[in-house]
């Protein structure tokens, strides 16, 4: 079976900034493919090229077998996009927005009404369909956009940061829809996110992107498995000293300090915990708390990029590159 998306050395540069740097990615039909990375990692630029909004500087890509440059119109007809920022007309009703989309994407007039009713049911907006969008909540708008992206039966659906700025309940709701969509519509979903839990819960496979490059690609479970084991998080009055001691005496090199807590990645946390306590006591370090947990994608990201995903949040969103990025949107 051909790939739903295939990119070859896909690159986009802005002056000296390589927003996307020689990406080779193949997305299988029917999977939810997660692109995970901090803000400014190049996720949106990458997706914009696949959606034919931006032209690549070099390299090539196909979406549903169509070349993104030479067959841009065919690509457009075969994909659905939910943008990072809202892109609906809030002076029209929900239903009117859907009708507009159906017309723009060439859905046969005879099928429009039925498809739209089905979509409204799917995203549970039937009772609000004829209200102006300005009266919708953020979550409802998002759901409408999700539904809108499906009206023309796309084979690939792009979701660019679908739950940014939404409250936890609504995020949960949206996630549920995305999973349902995949089952009921038999489509490929490309999801970009900088939320670890989102990527973890939704994706069949995850590509970690940093500085425009792919760092690693695997299933969420395997990514977590590569970390081999548990994370022991210790809070103490002198975590730096404790970190040194742990590295020196217990031989655990994978230590890091996150939000004032020492985190040690080990194969068997239960056995290690008493020894850490002992070591702390011998060196007059007072341990406030010690917790054992499973590694999450946050740890995976740190492991592969050497930094915490949140450290970078917003960092590159100043000055000229920010202006360019806004222009891309």
């Amino acid at each position: 079976m051909p790939h739903a998306i295939e990119t070859k050395q896909l690159t986009k540069t802005y002056g000296s900034l390589k927003a996307v740097d020689s990406l080779d990615i193949a997305v299988e039909p029917g999977e939810i493919f997660g692109l995970l990375g901090p803000n400014g990692a190049g996720k949106t630029t990458f997706v914009s090229m696949l959606c034919t909004i931006l032209k690549p500087t070099s390299g090539s890509a196909t979406v549903n077998g169509f070349d993104i440059v030479r067959e841009a119109n065919k690509v457009r007809k075969s994909i659905g996009i939910v943008f990072q920022d809202p892109s609906i007309d809030d002076r029209l009703t929900g239903r009117e927005n859907l009708f507009m989309h159906a017309n723009l994407f060439g859905v046969p007039a005879s099928e429009q009404k039925e498809r739209i009713n089905r979509i409204l049911k799917l995203v549970e907006l039937e009772d609000r369909a004829d209200d102006l969008l300005r009266t919708y909540s953020g979550g409802m708008r998002r759901r409408l956009e999700l539904g809108r992206g499906l009206i023309h039966y796309p084979k690939v659906l792009f979701l660019d940061e679908p739950t940014v700025g939404l409250d936890p309940q609504t995020r949960d709701h949206i996630w549920k829809y995305i999973k349902e969509l995949k089952q009921t519509h038999d489509i490929t979903v490309v999801l970009t996110t900088h939320y670890m839990d989102e990527a973890d819960r939704l994706s069949d496979r995850i590509a970690i992107i940093d500085h425009g490059k792919m760092v690693i690609l695997d299933t969420p479970q395997k990514l977590k498995d590569t970390l081999e084991g548990d994370v022991v998080a210790v809070r103490a009055n002198n975590v730096n000293a404790l970190a040194e001691l742990v590295t020196k005496w217990l031989g655990f090199p994978k230590t890091k300090i996150v939000d004032g807590a020492l985190e040690i990645t080990v194969r068997n946390g239960k056995v290690v915990m008493p020894r850490i306590m002992e070591l702390a006591a011998q060196n007059n370090i007072y341990v406030e708390s010690i917790v054992l947990r499973e590694p999450n994608l946050e740890d995976v990201f740190l492991h592969y990029t050497g930094r915490n995903i949140r450290e970078d949040t917003g960092k590159e969103l100043h000055g000229a590159s920010a202006a360019r990025r806004r222009a891309i949107k």
């Binding site: 959606c51 909004i53 457009r76 920022d85 609906i88 029209l92 507009m100 989309h101 723009l104």
Partner: protein, 256 residues
């Protein structure tokens, strides 16, 4: 076929948005009323007109032209809103061609502006300005023709603009010069206007639009003062429309 449907849906959107913005419709009555009642009364004696013409007759087509101009330019703001609130992206990533996108928006906005023009025409008749109501039907296609080019100017400018702040400058640098230099408020011919003013006005497409409107509404009474015969007026306006549609399509093609 899908291009036609795309055009229709974009056109319909402009109409719906306009119709729902009631405040704009209400205020659109006020301005022409002020011009036709107060300004016309104050300046009626300033211009030497043939005995068979009153100043109010002359100024009515001018105020229609002004209304078309201001409304048309104001429509550009929609493009900036669409860009700012993201809706433009939804349109731009659709498989519909940029020419169709431009035409859908342009004809939609022109329809809205035309409605405003019609309102002014009706106000003029209601004020008892002696103009044959039948000429309304001749004026209608001319009004639409004028609007196409003017709306296009607004759309082109807006497509280059990033935010709403700059749009106010258009009022100063486009609207008012085009308005004052079109002869909307005074006949360009037959008076003692400085020749530089008349010369500049000859390069203003709105001059021919207003002249065309006067040619059809005032008939033979306007002939001594006309800039050009009707068919040349229409030709100039149509040519300008054609150029602006090409420019507009180009502007929309380069829009991201």
């Amino acid at each position: 076929m899908s291009e036609a449907r795309g055009f229709y849906t974009l056109w319909l959107r402009e109409i719906k948005r306009f119709y729902r913005d009631r405040t704009r419709l209400v205020t659109s009555f006020i301005q022409p009323l002020l011009w036709l009642v107060i300004f016309a009364a104050a300046f009626a004696t300033r211009f030497a007109l043939p005995a068979n013409l009153t100043y109010r007759q002359v100024i009515l087509p001018g105020i229609i032209g002004q209304t078309l101009l201001f409304t048309a330019m104001f429509m550009g703001i929609n493009v900036i809103w669409d860009k700012e609130f993201g809706f433009m992206k939804e349109i731009l990533v659709s498989p519909v061609s940029r020419f169709t996108i431009f035409m859908g928006k342009m004809v939609g906005d022109s329809t809205d502006a035309l409605l405003q023009g019609i309102i002014v025409f009706v106000i003029g008749l209601a004020l008892g300005i002696p103009i044959s109501p039948i000429t309304f039907f001749y004026a209608l296609p001319i009004m639409l023709l004028i609007t196409f080019g003017l709306v296009s100017i607004g759309l082109v400018i807006a497509s280059f603009m990033g935010n709403l702040e700059g749009f106010g400058a258009i009022q100063t640098f486009v609207n008012l010069p085009l308005f004052f230099l079109s002869g909307a408020l005074f006949p360009l011919k037959g008076g003692s206007l400085p020749s530089w003013l008349v010369d500049i006005a000859a390069w203003n497409p709105l001059t021919y639009g207003v002249d065309a409107l006067r040619n059809v509404t005032l008939g033979a009474a306007w002939t001594p003062l006309q800039i050009q015969p009707l068919w040349i007026d229409i030709g100039v306006v149509a040519l300008f429309d054609g150029i602006m549609i090409v420019v507009g399509t180009w502007a929309f093609t380069r829009m991201k």
